[in-house]
Structure formats: C-alpha cells, structure tokens
Symmetry: C2
Subunit: 413 residues, 2 copies
C-alpha cells in the first residue's frame, strides 16, 4: 500500500476497529464447548437489544443474501401470494429469492432513488385482496444499499398491519439496523435480517435474524425446502449454546467484541454519529458539485449514492481515488456506471468522512476540474454539527425510551 492510510468507504464490508480486528486472530475453540456457549449467552441478548426485540435472534453462517433466503424459505410455501416492495437492487433480490422458491410474487416497484410510500403499499395490498390473493407475507427493504434510500419501515409496517393483518412482515435491514433507530417489536416486524459486515463493524460471515412468535408458527406450516437455513434447527441449537452447523467461530468472536464496543458507546451515540456522518457526506459531495441520487427526505445515513457526471471518466477517477487511498463503490444493477456510492456505516467518524472528501477534492483538482479547495470540508463539518444538534434536540424530546441494558438503547419516533 503506497498510502499510510486506507479508507474503505464502501457500504460493507466496513472497516474494523482494532479490538475487533484483533479478535479475528484468536485461537479456535470448540463450537460445542463451554467457551462458545458463554459467547452465545452474551451475543444473543446483545443482539436482542440491538434489534429491540424480546423474540429470538439466531446467528447463521452466511452473507446477508443467505439471510434473505432463510427469511423466505422458513416461512413460506410454494404458491403463497407475496407482496415484494422494491426500491432498488436489493429489494429486487429479495423478490427474486421468493420467486425462485415458488412464491407467487407481486412486485410493487418504486422508482429507484425514492422511498416506498405507505399509501402505495396499502393500494397494492388492497388490489391483491380484491384479486383473491391476500398476501401471506410482505417483503420490505429498510435501507436500500443500491440507491442510498432509507424506507420508513414504521409507517410501512403500520399500513400492512392495518390492511393485511395476517401477512408476515419480512424486513431486509441488512445495511441499516444498528446504525439508525429501528424497533423490531414496536413496529410489529416478524423477521428482520442484518449482516455482520455492516453497522456491526465485523467481517462478513454472519447473518443475524430475529424471528417473531408468529413467524415461528408460520414456519411449522411452511413447505419450502430448507436444511442449512432451517431456522428451527438454529433455535434448538442456540438453546444449548451452539449452532446446528459449525459457525464461523472467529467472526463470532469479533461480533462479541464489536457488540461490547457498540453498547459501551450506546445506541443513541451510535445513531447520532451515523446521522452526523450521513449529513457530512451529503453536504460534502454536494459542495463538490455532485448530484445526490436519493430523495433528500429519505436519504440514508449509512450509504450515499451520487450521480457520476457525464464528463467524468468514473473508471479512471476511481482508480485515482484508490491510488490516493480511498475505495468507493460503483453502481449496482441498472445503476452500474451511473452512480458511485460512499459507505458511512459501522466504524466511521466525521473525521474519516472529512478525509474521504479531502481525497475526492484533491482527485477532482488533479483531474483539472474547478474545485474550491477546502470548501467541501467546511460544508461537511457544518452539516455534521447541525445533524448532531438536531439529534441532541430529538433526544430531549418526550418520545425517548431507555432500556436498562449496558449502555442503554433508545428509539426515536
């Protein structure tokens, strides 16, 4: 590496704090022994606090995509009508998995860059009901990583609960949960999926899923085939402090350490940090002349997508950024070549965002583009201040609820 610093600013894997890195080097233990059972006894309750659920949380040795598959195959049967609300490449993937296993999927496709609207979901549900195809499940994406949009899961879930009370709510929260306020039980969500390499500051290798009592009941009836992803086998093994198949032990060590760091910081501070980093990123990129892709009202605090200017050779520019120590992500699916993405989730601070913006600014200047050197940093740091103040103000409002768990968790209405 030619640079002293490496800035990995993709929306996962995210950088690892040193204590998490170091736990990756620990010697193996028996995954059926007392050390691993003690780890599970720490990690599972900590995840319950992170998800805000009193229900089960299971660990599956897989990526986020495998977690989506687990959510589908455990709770649905071939032929089941399903409403898939998709706002980007990951919403499409969730729907595709359900189709692949034989669900009868109705797509509610939202224009990429926009959030799903509760009224549109209500309409889609009503249309399915009128057609005699009441949905068995609704698939939602919390944070759409391909577009940088955070969907309003609370209001969306409320509409589903009111319109189709029997439908299960399966929610891809892979790239948002742990970074922004989220309330699994308060919103009545049945299965929520996240991945270790996102807000949790851990290498990839683990999907974590919450499962509601309603979802467990559905699993008893669901006939899609499953073995590795059988969540019931995971629940049974977890009762003995283990997993049904050999888990990625070192990633579990790292998750244990990372959850300790997160609870030490406290979820309110974690959420405020992400709000500040998201605001700083957006303000900095706008100051540099980039058009942001997402509807500003639903801009994600974990990933920002910006349009690649027509006269910028992205391939060359991104290679120059890499040479300067900054790795960004390109566009996905139909946005390939059209947008680039900055990840700001997990182990991220405003200082790191300022460094990334400084590198982009320098690369733009080197490419001969008009740049007011330092202006993006001013814009970003001011936006971070404003976001932090706003969060602090919300935190003094009346809607706060704090649990007693290490560091406390908090939800903002």
């Amino acid at each position: 590496m030619a640079n002293l610093e490496a800035h990995l600013r993709v929306p996962g894997p995210t950088p690892l704090p040193d204590p998490v890195r170091e736990a990756g080097a620990w010697q193996m233990v028996n995954h059926r022994g007392p050390e691993f059972a003690a780890l599970m006894a720490r990690v599972v309750p900590a995840l319950r606090r992170g998800f805000r659920t009193a229900g089960d949380v299971v660990l599956v040795g897989t990526s986020g995509t495998g977690g989506l598959e687990a959510a589908v195959v455990n709770h649905l049967s071939p032929g089941d009508p399903v409403l898939a609300v998709t706002t980007g490449a990951f919403g499409d993937r969730f729907a595709k998995i359900a189709s692949r296993y034989g669900a009868d999927v109705t797509l509610l496709e939202v224009e990429w860059g926009r959030a799903a609207e509760p009224e549109a979901v209500r309409g889609a549900l009503a249309a399915m009901q009128t057609a005699g195809r009441s949905p068995v499940a609704v698939l939602l994406t919390h944070n759409e990583t391909s577009t940088g949009v955070t969907n309003p899961i609370g209001p969306l879930a409320a509409v589903v609960r009111a319109t189709a009370p029997a439908a299960l709510l399966l929610v891809d929260a892979i790239s948002g949960l742990g970074a922004v306020p989220f309330d699994t039980d308060g919103w009545g969500l049945d299965v929520v999926i996240t991945g270790s390499q996102k807000s949790w500051m851990v290498p990839p290798g683990l999907a974590m899923l919450s499962v509601s009592p309603r979802a467990w009941a559905a699993a008893e009836r669901a006939t899609m085939p499953r073995f590795y992803f059988d969540l019931k086998a995971h629940r049974e093994a977890a009762e003995k402090g283990s997993t049904p198949w050999t888990p990625p032990v070192s990633v579990c060590f790292q998750l244990d350490v990372a959850l300790g760091l997160i609870e030490q910081e406290g979820y309110p501070a974690v959420f405020a940090r992400h709000a500040a980093c998201g605001a700083a990123t957006r303000a900095g990129l706008r100051s540099l002349g980039f058009d942001l892709f997402a509807d500003p009202a639903h801009a994600s605090d974990t990933v920002t997508a910006a349009r690649v200017p027509a006269d910028l050779d992205w391939k060359r520019f991104s290679a120059d950024l890499r040479a300067r120590g900054l790795t960004l992500a390109g566009g996905q699916g139909k946005l390939t070549g059209q947008v680039f993405r900055v990840g700001h989730l997990g182990y991220v601070t405003v200082h790191q965002i300022l460094a990334a913006l400084e590198i982009v600014e320098a690369a733009l200047a080197a490419a001969g583009r008009p740049v007011d050197r330092g202006a993006a940093l001013v814009a970003a740091s001011r936006a971070a201040d404003r976001a932090a103040a706003q969060v602090a103000e919300q935190a003094t409002g009346p809607t706060i609820e704090t649990t007693g768990a290490a560091g406390g968790t908090e939800v903002q209405a």
Copy 2:
C-alpha cells in the same frame, strides 16, 4: 485459562498456525476490488492443486453442511433416484439433505465403524437398475468424522463408473481432503466438498467445492431450487475475481495464508505428518486401554473414535481433561455417550499428539485407573516412526507423480 497450553483436539475447528491466526486480524478490503481478485487468483489454483483437479473450484461462505447442500441442489431434481452410501452421522446427513429437497434416496447403510465396500455398492446400484431406478447420483463420504473411518473412494468410484456410468459422484471429503492422498480427477469425481476448518488449518466459514464439466452440464438441467448456493453464480463471479455474495473476507485471507504454508510444507510431507499423527493416536489410545471404534483396515488419519469404557464417567472425565487443557469431542448421533473422538487433522504434529496422550494418561491415573505412566508415549512415538517410514517407502515407489506447483503435489496409489 488455567493452563499455559490449550490443546484443541476435536475434528474441526482445528487449531490455527500463528500466521493464519494473524491474517484473521487484517483490516477489511473491498470484496469487489483488486486486492480480493488477487487473492482469488492465488487461492483458486492452490485449491485445484489440493483437490488434484483441472476443473473449477468455487468458494462458498458456509459450513461443510452448506457445502453438501450446494452439491445436492445444484445437480439434482426432485424425484431423481439417488444412492446414498452412508457409514455414519455425516453420510446420514448428506442423504437427509437430498431427501429434504425431494430426491428419491436409496440408502446403503454400512455398519458404523466399518468402511463401505465396493462390492456392496455394485450390488446396490444393480438392484436400483433392475428396479428401473438408475441412480442420477451416488453420494459418498470420504472420511466419516463420526466414526473415524476413511472410505476407499478410489475403488468405490471405480465401481460406480463401471456399473452406473451416467451417475454423478458427489463426495463429502470435508474432513479428509488435504490431509490424506486424494485424486479428484484421477478417480473421476464430479463434486467434491471440503471445509476451511478441517485439514486447511483455517477457521470455519468457507466450503470449497470442485465441480466437473459433467456436473456443470447436470446443473443446467437440475431443478431443485437454489439461490445462495447457486454454484453457477459463484463460477461467474469467480471469473471476475469475486464471489456473487459478500464472502467471509477474513476467512479468505486466512485460507490464502494457510494454502501457502501447506504448499511450503508440500503435500507429501503433509500426508506423512497426518499418517504419523494418526498412527500415534491409535497406538497411544490402545496402550491406555481404549478400544478403537473403527475397522483398523480403514482407520482415519484425521480423526480417531474410541469406545468409552463402561466404568468410566465420560462427562466427568472429559471435564477433567478440559481442566488440564485438553478438549476432545464426544460421540455423535447414535454414538453419543458411547465413543469419544480425538481430532488429528490440520495444524497437528506428533508432539501435540504426545501432549494430548500425556494429559489423558495423567487424568486416567488421577481417576485411580491402572496406568503404566509413559507407556502410551512410547507406543505412540514408535508408531509414528513406523508410519513415517512406511510413507517414505511408498514415496520411493513407482507410482509417484509430481506437479510443478509451489511445493509440488503428489499422489500415492
């Protein structure tokens, strides 16, 4: 830990050499970037040398069990007649996965502790053919971890090829490949599965599968549902130096380092080391008065199962071993409580086996059982010498073939 040393002698996860441990602490990289592509360009050819195949080898972020599922769902369709040859708990699991996805499974159940015999397989195939149910695939287990038996895959495969030439050979080589001679292409195997946490000296998290051209052709026709485990998606991503879903990046780092260590040692030396450790374990346990579970003609050089004496309280004894720094594995499935198992695969030396035997000896003496202190160590070290001499003698025979790859690979007929 009360002990200065920890001896993890279970059949996976295996201990990690220090360079492999340390690679687990490396900072994340973009799994779609040039660093990861460079890693894939080293790891995949190294695995090909380890498997002895010119075909494709794919990495899937899952456990060995997930690897078995991938082998089944990519190459079979519901209703396909399948012969599952099972010699223990893992053979049963492979068959169960095929049944779960709708294959029409015929079980050839071999008494636990014995190896599968080619003639029995020939008979089972012929019976299926006579019944008009020619098998689409035969499921074999190379090293049965639950019983400590290594099945003779070469002769078994030859019988399948001769009797049912169209049948795919799907082979669970999870706990043997990389530790004992194995010849994927020479034996005509279609899909071979192994796991990172076994002979490869890497934490769990990755299954590695070889796929023959015949198996790829079958995948085009196979209709069992798959998404995460879709091997074709893995092959396509591998062509771009990546994986279709986010891989367990730190485990990939560790596999890269471990393959380097293995090729530096050289497969002939690795095989000789496992032969010596297997012989030492068996001789030491016999010297301590234990009955070994496996047919001596097919005793595994990666795991040894021994019967728990009727008058030994295994639970208490194994807790005492743990207090002394030694972790062994109990019995699995119907052998729970009846056998214990010693893992000797991956990062293992004869010295480590001697240490483990010394701890067992001391614990037996402490339990008031008659022990000739040191006798097991004498027996073990002499057996290791004999095994090493035998391997060296074989290595001077005429059947050796060496490839030019780093360190060379070798097969012993």
